[in-house]
Symmetry: C4
Subunit: 211 residues, 4 copies
Amino acid sequence: MTGAMVTGAPETTGYGGTLAAEAARFAALGWMRGTSGNLSVVTGRDPVRLLVTASGLDKGELRPGDMVLVDEEGTAVPGATAAGKPSAEAALHARVVRLTGAGAVVHVHTVASVAMGRRRPGGIAFRDLEMLKGLGRSAHDEEVVLPVIRNSQDMSVLGDRLEAALDPGVPAVVVAGHGLYAWGADLREARRHTEVVEWLLELQLAEERGR
Amino acid sequence: MTGAMVTGAPETTGYGGTLAAEAARFAALGWMRGTSGNLSVVTGRDPVRLLVTASGLDKGELRPGDMVLVDEEGTAVPGATAAGKPSAEAALHARVVRLTGAGAVVHVHTVASVAMGRRRPGGIAFRDLEMLKGLGRSAHDEEVVLPVIRNSQDMSVLGDRLEAALDPGVPAVVVAGHGLYAWGADLREARRHTEVVEWLLELQLAEERGR
Amino acid sequence: MTGAMVTGAPETTGYGGTLAAEAARFAALGWMRGTSGNLSVVTGRDPVRLLVTASGLDKGELRPGDMVLVDEEGTAVPGATAAGKPSAEAALHARVVRLTGAGAVVHVHTVASVAMGRRRPGGIAFRDLEMLKGLGRSAHDEEVVLPVIRNSQDMSVLGDRLEAALDPGVPAVVVAGHGLYAWGADLREARRHTEVVEWLLELQLAEERGR
Amino acid sequence: MTGAMVTGAPETTGYGGTLAAEAARFAALGWMRGTSGNLSVVTGRDPVRLLVTASGLDKGELRPGDMVLVDEEGTAVPGATAAGKPSAEAALHARVVRLTGAGAVVHVHTVASVAMGRRRPGGIAFRDLEMLKGLGRSAHDEEVVLPVIRNSQDMSVLGDRLEAALDPGVPAVVVAGHGLYAWGADLREARRHTEVVEWLLELQLAEERGR
């Protein structure tokens, strides 16, 4: 494999098994229906390398080899993997990594993120919730706004929107009519951020319904 | 077994195990409650043969032998299977196969499909949703209408309604007060289409509630 | 064991394992939270004997021996079982068996049954739904009313209300503020009726919310 | 280990495995998303000792050793455990134990408890529900009010609020914008109380939506 490895990181094969297990976990929650969504983990920083789940496969049944190694543009690294082409969205994963220094990125299609993204195109505000501490924010007297960006099939356009909307204190973005991106220093932290943001969105949706 | 097999297709026994596993997967999602729904897979094209889940059994506990082989009318092929009678709906599965060339058909009873079918008897419109790409449609600037047809116990009447309502660009139909039919080139694609359409319906139902 | 056995019926120990597995299945659906609900199966008809799940235990973790054998009044048969006292509701199970000839009774505490029972104290009407066929009724042009009775801690009062409200064509009753009773010729049919009625209630609740 | 053990209680290692399994069970219900919540069990009374789940870990994947032994103030007992620091909330667990004599405390972050706590800052009233018997209360003609207290990051402030709001007949408290605390004589009873209260909150939220 090309590039310097993150200290202590396992080889690509090991990453593949970890990504497959993590995808199956999110799929079991119903957040990756219809083969939607994708996960990535950074396997090298110089040059940047991400292992990304291959597109078109059921995310509950991935095997360790169903991953694609991509560079900092999200382009497949020639010869490195045999699992077909990466999702076009691999480019957005790579952009998130470059912008935030994240070590792992989770993209899921949840009903709550799409429903709330359509209702709050300017961003979704939360405050006075203990769960905000899971994002490293305060549970009191502070408004946290989850950015919402318009969808696009052009990953450079989508990436520019993400960069413009990014709040350094919020490790997630909702793409309207599309789904949720969340990230973290590693897959474990990216999972926590994903679960926290989805919980906040489900709460908000429940509160909207009751009004 | 009679009829030419699809290239590379396993024998009927293998199909039975695959159908049983697929049914158990949908049952675990709560989409086949009370023994409802049925799945089929095309095992031959000349003449047409479908293996269909037998009626009256819990769809979460089917065994590979709990299937019936039917012809292009949905009638059981004499001597081919021992699992009792096919559901009357086998005739609709066969009609879908003849009309669309599908290789597999999924019929499930989900709350969202029935609730939305009752609200939108003229069809359920979606637009500007990334998830529409899972049906081979555009995520932008295009309205996709999921057809809704009235229910009937006469499969030829129901089949005529399905044929009249069919949109070649939408691999699914909602039967009002009944449930959802979706199909694809094989069971894997039929699953993807089923999950995508159900997700769209759940989103729509969530948005209806919040208005 | 006293009494004639149902033809082909396994011994009590076998019933215990079957009841435990069935209870675990309903518990996994979230319909028996907080140790609530109970299941019974008829093990003899002359005299009437029912094996009922013991009260106070987590319904997802019953062992085959966690059952009590009761007579046609719901009273524990002396010496027959060691699993402590039956739920007071065993008397209502026995009453359902005497009134309907059922071979198995399911009682669960679902949110949908309690919410709908409170909204429709006079009964919950359904029509034009394919799912009604799962109760042996027509999917068209017929109104099916699920009876709702007021709750009581006196099982003879509750039994009288059930007897007065019983519709011979509907194998289920909602107890307002309490939960759902459903029954069938055997555990398999009682499961199907339970799932069908719960599905109907969840649909109705979803439709109420959206109005 | 210091302190007298509860009669018949297993050693700390055994408690760790039990706590880990119990946490995994609540996590599977979606009530401990994003590493939120914590569980504790009393391992000694004189002096008071609680084993508490460690903070920051996925509650679905705890190992028996991922627990911290704390004293009656919720402070880690030096040398007793190696699993890092306890959650600050361990102090509230200890306070609940001192106030109520509970043998186990469950704290979960459920959407229903947070949504209802925000709607009913003065307490959430229930009546005429069979499920109330799971809290040792009457199913008829009695109003049971689940206390709601304001959130705080200062555990002594939060504990004072809990003490002031505590109803001796209700083994649970909602912390507004935060989650649910429930307790019992042992983990089994604490689980039952947690499930009963959460069921009541889900019912109430469903009824709010339909109005």
